[in-house]
């Protein structure tokens, strides 16, 4: 039975090394951001000045850019994603063929690489937004916070809808039948039974979408305009935490610049881990309830 013991030990070792690996991930980010943390402290997140040649690094414009684009994207995609989840959840249950096709299409949307979203946005959305800006009589950049939010919104729809759809599909059949037996219309069933039942799952879907939006890099980098100052309004160019790393990391001027970019990565990592953990807790609670 020695072979068995060795095998068991091997499995446990894999798990242990994995835990160690995640720990090292976090540690190496902290160590590498050390010089920047030491040099700027809390000023790093409240200063708006980012000047690599002068050695001044403040990340507030990028924090602002990330928060603005992510929340705008959520605002635009949530109604769409929930409609989709309700439609798919209710009608694929009733065996509607079209619902299956739609479901498949949304899955495809999730599989498109972000650089292709970026390419499409650059040559399709940017001209559209520029045309809009000319009509609205503001500086027609075309690129900027709004365009980035638009492409982000499209990208995160499948993430919000897939988990919400699963929740809708998990509503017990007898609850729905009870509602219908009482003469409730589909809308009344949705409002009084499905939505209350799925609420926490919907929150988890939003969190998942938010996590994805916060860390999304390529598509945003290609259409946000890569401007390192504070964005003046929703249509002005900007930068997000992820896009500034993508733009400047390979050509960083000096160690402090690199370390500051890594510190932005550290924040991105932490925020994502927190958003993710909260989402996991919600999903776990919901699945235990069933």
């Amino acid at each position: 039975m020695d072979g068995d013991k060795a095998f068991r030990i091997g499995l446990n070792l894999t798990a242990f090394l994995f835990i160690l690996f995640v720990g090292i991930t976090f540690l190496s980010l902290i160590i590498a951001s050390g010089p920047s943390i030491k040099a700027f402290g809390w000023k790093f997140v409240i200063s708006t000045e980012w000047d690599p040649t002068a050695g001044k690094f403040g990340a507030l414009p990028f924090l602002t850019g990330t928060l603005l684009t992510s929340f705008l994207a959520l605002l635009m995609s949530t109604p769409l994603a929930f409609s989709l989840a309700l439609f798919l959840g209710i009608y694929s249950r009733k065996g509607l063929r079209f619902a299956y096709i739609l479901d498949y299409a949304v899955d495809l949307l999730a599989g498109i690489p972000s650089v292709i979203y970026g390419l499409w946005a650059l040559f399709f959305l940017v001209p559209v937004v520029r045309w809009m800006e000319i009509k609205m009589n503001i500086t027609p950049f075309g690129v900027g916070i709004f365009t980035a939010s638009l492409v982000l919104a499209i990208m995160i729809i499948p993430y919000i809808s897939s988990i919400s759809k699963e929740m809708v599909a998990m509503v017990p059949q007898d609850l729905l039948e009870a509602g219908m037996a009482l003469g409730a219309t589909d809308w009344e069933v949705v409002k009084n039974i499905i939505v209350p039942y799925c609420l926490s799952g919907f929150y988890a879907g939003i969190l998942l979408g938010l996590g994805r939006a916060l860390g999304e890099t390529m598509a945003v980098t290609m259409v946000i305009g890569n401007f390192n100052g504070m964005p003046k309004d929703l249509f002005s160019p900007g930068n997000t935490m992820a896009s500034v790393i993508a733009n400047e990391f390979a050509e960083a001027v000096g160690d402090l610049h690199l370390s500051s970019l890594i510190q932005i990565g550290l924040w991105l990592f932490l925020v994502n881990v927190i958003v993710n953990l909260v989402g996991q807790v919600i999903v776990r609670k919901v699945s235990i309830r069933r």
């Binding site: 994995f18 190496s28 690489p113 650089v115 399709f124 916060l214 890099t217 992820a242 890594i262 991105l268």
Partner: protein, 275 residues
């Protein structure tokens, strides 16, 4: 409320969710149509077999990035499949706080932005080796792929009937032998589909390659030297000011989409159907 009012409300609701659902199809259709119509004309035999030409020079292809992508994917698969299957096996064979911790960490790893994974590969491999390399890009992609493989393995193993394992053990086979000869072979279709899903995911990853694989206009098979990748080429060409490079970016996008959609369709329709 009268029945009539309720009916009207119901109609409005149905019309709203139907039209909003259809609206989500619009971007997908637009993206597919644009890629196919713009990418189609860029594609020829040369596109797959020639190296890039400078902007303005007609002809040339993306051979360097196709080879680079395959090299990166190969490195990622070699690293992530054994570790991922091992973790999945551990999770399905173990209960308790450690298993929960590993599960939570796997889910967390899946949520880490890919650009941060790129930073890690830079710190661990590019910096010590003193230069950009295919190896560092492959490691970054392996980290991104690992959770997909681990979870696919775990999910497949959990769904196998316990009678399989009992049959193996009751025939006198040792635990290890049962796992190797009975459990893993029965789980193979599920694991394979997980690996394919992971490959589909990393094939389009760009952000973690920006400062690891870096890109290379020449053909390279040395894992310690920089390589190009198809998504990286799409990014660099799209951001360039040259219209013939834009054209090639569309062509490369079409190639990438066909590859990724092909995998997705294989997983659903093939002998290793998921779910």
């Amino acid at each position: 409320m009268s029945t009539r009012a309720r009916r009207i409300k119901d109609r409005i609701f149905k019309a709203t969710i139907l039209s909003l659902s259809l609206l989500t199809l619009l971007p997908l259709l637009l993206i597919l149509i644009t890629i196919i119509s713009k990418g189609y004309s860029a594609i020829s035999l040369d596109f797959f077999t020639k190296l890039p030409t400078p902007p303005g020079d007609p002809g040339g292809g993306i051979l360097n990035s196709i080879v680079g992508s395959l090299l990166l994917i190969a490195i990622a698969v070699v690293i992530s499949v054994p570790t991922g299957v091992g973790l999945g096996l551990y999770l399905s064979e173990t209960r308790g706080p450690w298993a929960s911790l590993v599960e939570i960490l796997i889910n967390t790893l899946q949520g880490i932005p890919s650009i941060v994974v790129g930073i890690l590969a830079y710190l661990w491999i590019v910096k010590p080796l003193g230069g950009f390399s295919a190896l560092s890009g492959g490691v970054a992609l392996a980290i991104i792929m690992l959770p997909t493989v681990a979870r696919a393995t775990q999910e497949t193993l959990i769904r196998l009937p316990t009678s399989l394992k009992e049959a193996g053990l009751s025939l006198g086979a040792s635990y290890t032998r049962t796992i190797w000869k009975v459990i893993l072979p029965s789980a193979m279709p599920g694991i394979l589909s997980g690996v394919l899903l992971g490959v589909a995911r990393i094939a389009g990853e760009t952000a973690p390659l920006l400062f690891t694989a870096f890109g290379n206009p020449y053909l390279n098979l040395n894992p310690l030297k920089p390589v190009d990748a198809v998504p990286l080429l799409v990014f660099n060409y799209a951001m360039s000011p040259y219209s013939d490079w834009h054209q090639k970016a569309w062509g490369a996008s079409l190639v990438l989409m066909v590859f990724i959609l092909g995998i997705n369709i294989t997983i659903r329709k093939g002998p290793w159907k998921r779910r």
